[in-house]
Symmetry: C2
């Protein structure tokens, strides 16, 4: 599939947004990075806001779709968490720059802000539900589910910062190592009931 000019603009914009944030990137910055004049951008996109909307909503819907698939699968809670980790590693690997906007610039969405917030809250609720089920099934330690959710999700949401530095690691391997550390911890001598 060939990249349209609009897609190219969005890809380059995501890269710039990652470096300085949506608000600090001007249409002139974007035009210069594309090798054209700012006015020419408007032949392909409606507005600066249009670019942000496209980047964020498409990613948010990808995560939502991934979560739905995981929820439907009949596997243990721990394995669902592993698949969530793989989902984040996968999407972030495919669109590292866009993930920066999703994480840092969602508050600058105008028309689509409410829709985004709904998807985000839904995602977190489903994530928390999986943790609670894991606790009930005695797969997961009986501690505050919010702290576990926060801890894991913070790491997964920061992947975009860190994945570019680890280009040598393939997604599958990174997924496995990350799962091991997030789920089993780093303490070598753990008191457990196994």
């Amino acid at each position: 599939m060939v990249e349209t000019r609009k897609e190219e603009i969005i890809r380059v914009a995501a890269r710039l947004f990652k470096e300085k944030g949506y608000s600090a990137v001007t249409m002139r910055d974007l035009a210069k990075a594309m090798g054209i004049k700012a006015a020419s951008l408007y032949n392909h996109i409606d507005s600066k806001q249009d670019i942000l909307k496209t980047i964020i909503i498409s990613l948010a819907e990808e995560f939502t779709a991934g979560m739905v698939t995981i929820l439907q699968s009949e596997i243990s809670s721990l394995n669902k968490l592993k698949r969530i980790i793989a989902l984040h590693v996968g999407i972030t690997g495919e669109n590292t720059d866009g993930m920066a906007s999703l994480n840092n610039d969602w508050m600058h969405l105008e028309e689509k802000l409410d829709y985004y917030l709904m998807l985000r809250i839904n995602y977190e609720d489903n994530f928390r539900k999986i943790i609670r089920e894991g606790i009930a099934a005695e797969e997961i330690v009986d501690k505050d589910p919010d702290i576990m959710l926060f801890s894991i999700l913070s790491t997964l949401r920061s992947l975009y910062i860190w994945i570019p530095d680890k280009k040598n690691l393939d997604p599958l391997q990174l997924s496995h190592e990350l799962s091991a550390i997030l789920l089993n911890g780093i303490n070598k001598k753990v008191k457990k009931i196994s």
Copy 2:
């Protein structure tokens, strides 16, 4: 100690920067939040950049000082990590809003950018060193130290988002619960050697 007008401006600015980011907050926004006109701000601060610099550098130096103390203490690597976790919980609890700028707006520093980057890299290097020592001492599992560093630090750096929602939890308790989850993981049945 009484809050000076300059300190008040910086406190209010940090709150606004947390909501929309440094670039999206105008001096008029800040003035309105202070109940004065934009021009009046300049009787107390030199520039918008001056505010950002103050917020970020003071926090970065606090973390650096905390890390120095921890490095000097003669305790196990795991206990050093616990003290780092407590350091983040403590500083973030004291200045939640400022932590947003430290994490998200450091790239907008002008004059002090190089200094900040030096402190940041130093901090991460010391953090990594503690993890490596823990592996060598067989306190910490022998996995990629960068992934462990990334995972723990991502969570700690995101505390500012999450601490305001958990106002009921006292810092000491949060520190302990977070240490348990970050160091021991959430998996109830873990293969271990103890």
